[in-house]
């Protein structure tokens, strides 16, 4: 839906060279060796508080991660708050405190902020928009369109924690569990990866639409074929359980602390080692490869050795009923 909306409505009006790259951050040349990365994102999560995070933590991590996916070191963020009349000061304090904590974790400051209060019913509690600016070192060239045959595909851990964590926290599924969102700032991990390999081709965080959608977008933008080995993609037992129960496919679940990296095969092991040394990359692994065949398609080799296509998410995943 978002994909169609962007192409049918937003791009015809707003398109320009920077926007059309459609990466997580716009990359702005500065005339010197390094470039600037610039990005913005709005957060409307429900519920506002969930195990592993809240809207505040999410609004810092999400934007820091968008910068990091361009290979940028975040310089500063801005934050805009839209508060519904009557929103409790206590809750706001909790949100702000976790923003502070997340910003410290990421080593970034909130350099500008704005607040608006709208009347009751015009917003749902609290919406936050954050924007971020970062600097990309000379020689770093990361984009969703740079996947090449011979690349290894790496992910930094198991998928699905955020979406299932939030779904369970919503409380309308009659499910209880200790599933925590994976919400985390990934810039430290990315820096560690860049320090060992200057030639990372693609970095993306599989947020909404999940791993399947992000891989499909990369395959499409790069006109490359991607093969993923289902056996190598980790899904926690409790996430798998909820998926089986509701008829969800973990490949379409949103993550907030995961990244996929496309790096040349010969450098994959070195990058993997560097990732595993970072707390957010401890469960990292190689999950697939880029091939010449089937450009624009993502094939999943299933656990029984069959193949199926990984298509982008279309519509929503609904809990099944039987």
């Amino acid at each position: 839906m978002t994909h169609d909306l962007i192409h049918a409505l937003f791009l015809p009006f707003l398109k320009n060279k920077l926007l059309c790259a459609l990466d997580d951050s716009a990359v702005i040349p500065t005339g010197k060796g390094s470039r600037l990365a610039f990005t913005t994102d709005s957060y409307v999560v429900k519920p506002l508080f969930f195990p592993g995070g809240d809207i505040g933590r999410l609004s810092i991590c999400g934007t820091v991660n968008d910068l990091a996916m361009a290979g940028a070191r975040p310089l500063g963020l801005s934050a805009s708050f839209i508060l519904e009349e009557g929103f409790s000061a206590g809750k706001l304090e909790r949100v702000l405190s976790s923003m502070k904590e997340a910003a410290m974790e990421a080593g970034v400051m909130v350099a500008a902020a704005d607040t608006k209060v709208v009347e009751h019913g015009a917003a749902e509690g609290l919406f936050i928009t954050t924007s971020g600016i970062g600097v990309i070192s000379e020689g770093v060239d990361i984009s969703g369109s740079r996947a090449m045959a011979g690349d290894a595909v790496i992910i930094n851990g198991p998928i699905g924690d955020h979406e299932i964590g939030v779904l369970v926290a919503r409380g309308d599924l009659s499910l209880e569990g200790k599933i925590k969102s994976d919400c985390a700032p990934l810039n430290g991990l990315v820096q560690a990866m860049l320090d060992t390999c200057g030639n990372i081709h693609v970095l993306r965080d599989p947020t909404r639409g999940g791993l399947a959608t992000v891989l499909w977008e990369i395959a499409n933008a790069s006109k490359a074929g991607v093969i993923i080995d289902d056996q190598k993609v980790k899904v926690r037992q409790e996430i798998k359980g909820v998926c089986d129960l509701l008829g969800f496919d973990p490949y379409y679940l949103a993550n907030e602390g995961k990244l996929v990296a496309f790096v040349p095969q010969e450098e994959a092991e070195t990058v993997l080692e560097a990732m595993k040394a970072n707390p957010l990359g401890r469960e990292a692994g190689i999950i697939g490869a880029v091939v010449d065949e089937n450009p624009g398609k993502v094939l999943l080799k299933t656990r029984i050795g069959g193949y199926r296509l990984l298509e982008p998410l279309s519509g929503e995943q609904f809990p099944r009923i039987c």
Partner: protein, 393 residues
């Protein structure tokens, strides 16, 4: 997460069964997986890409949302328009188009329509909101009915008085019988549903073997379960047997779950029901028994069922009978997408069209006749369809 060694086991088991399937396969055989959960598992695990030439899997009518006819959705929407009424239903049903609106659209227009995930939620809501008349629009097969029956009993026990059931529940064995009696589709055997059979056991399927001399295997939902189910069907063919067997032994007992069946029988009685595609099938639905009559929405509200046509061009009816496959439908992936579905098989996560749409099909060295779109060695289904934007929010 499967441990590495467990995962390896799964691939090894699959390759052993697949070798056996190749050895046993002889001629062209069509097996129907009745249940939508099987359809999804078959697509997700890529089973179609691995089966030997000549074994064809076709999807059946086992998706409760898909078989709910347009007229019943219209009736539920009409009830939701009444004063002080809250309509409750399961998620997938929300987006199925009625003749003019879906429940989702009706909600957007201000009707109080809510999604629940468990029948007991209905009792809770009715208790919490005594001033409203709560109608639970319940779809589902035998796997869901005992829980609905338990909710009805609980509402009676609590003497709620404001909870009504609009029952659109259906039974699987009568649908299989209707399908076979129609003789419209060639089927050599059935992969029978696991969840439904946990409740009903194997006896209700015995007509498949006795009256129609066909085979059936009650099968689990893991990929290796399904492969083993197909293997058991092939063994029966090879040995000239027609029996109902159970592959899903870890969950299904021959006699089913007596307690669950008793609750179901106490609360419901079989009644003729209309199925999308299959039409009116005797004793294939469930209605509340006399003692629970006061909770029956079809009696309490003066809104009769009216037959309505399926959407023009939509082949869901044929697809549910295994007569056609989604790519045969002129609307598939064109006018009918998951974002803007025309027929229910595209809406439901268990629907055949949704499975085709979401997972596509990849064939490795498959040359046999197949119900999917691509042919040839190692070729990908090319999806020559342009996804156009038909509905922006």
């Amino acid at each position: 997460m499967l441990t590495q060694s467990k995962a390896m086991d799964e691939e090894n088991i699959a390759s052993i069964i697949l070798k056996e399937l190749s050895r046993l396969a002889d001629g062209h055989l069509r097996f129907m997986e009745v249940c939508g959960t099987h359809t999804v598992s078959i697509f997700r695990s890529g089973i179609r890409s691995l089966l030997p030439e000549g074994i064809e899997l076709i999807s059946g009518p086992g998706c409760p949302v898909c078989v709910t006819p347009v007229g019943e959705i219209d009736r539920a929407i009409a009830m939701a328009q009444l004063r002080d009424v809250t309509l409750l239903t399961f998620g997938d049903l929300m987006r199925v188009p009625g003749s003019s609106l879906s429940l989702y659209e009706a909600r957007a227009m201000g009707r109080d329509i809510r999604v629940i995930t468990s029948p007991l939620d209905a009792v809770e809501i009715a208790t919490r909101e005594p001033g409203r008349r709560i109608i639970f629009f319940a779809v589902g097969f035998e796997a869901t009915s005992p829980a609905i029956a338990a909710a009805v009993k609980e509402a009676m026990r609590k003497r709620l008085g404001n909870l009504y059931l609009l029952s659109s529940q259906r039974l699987i064995p009568p649908a299989i019988k209707a399908l076979l009696s129609s003789k419209k589709v060639k089927i050599d055997g059935f992969i029978l549903p696991g969840h439904v059979s946990v409740i009903i056991g194997k006896t209700p399927y015995s007509f498949i073997a006795h009256e129609f001399c066909l085979t059936g295997v009650i099968t689990g939902f893991e990929a290796t379960d399904i492969l083993e189910g197909i293997y058991m069907l092939l063994c029966q063919k090879k040995e000239g047997r027609s029996e109902i067997e159970i592959q899903y032994r870890r969950a299904v007992k021959e006699a089913g779950n007596r307690l669950a069946m008793e609750v179901m029988k106490e609360v419901f009685e079989p009644v003729s029901a209309r199925w999308r595609g299959l039409g009116l099938i005797p004793e294939s639905g469930l209605k509340l028994r006399g003692g629970f009559k006061e909770m029956d929405a079809s009696e309490a509200f003066d809104i009769p069922y009216k037959d309505k046509e399926d959407p023009p061009g939509c082949l869901c009816g044929e697809i549910l009978q295994g007569l056609k496959s989604p790519p045969d439908c002129p609307l598939f992936d064109k006018r009918c997408t998951q974002q803007n579905p025309v027929g229910p098989c595209m809406v439901s996560s268990e629907g055949t069209c949704a499975a085709y749409h979401r997972y596509g099909v990849y064939h490795e060295g498959k040359r046999g006749k197949d119900t999917s779109r691509s042919r040839g060695r190692g070729k990908i289904d090319s999806r020559p369809y342009t996804r156009t934007i038909s509905a922006l929010p």
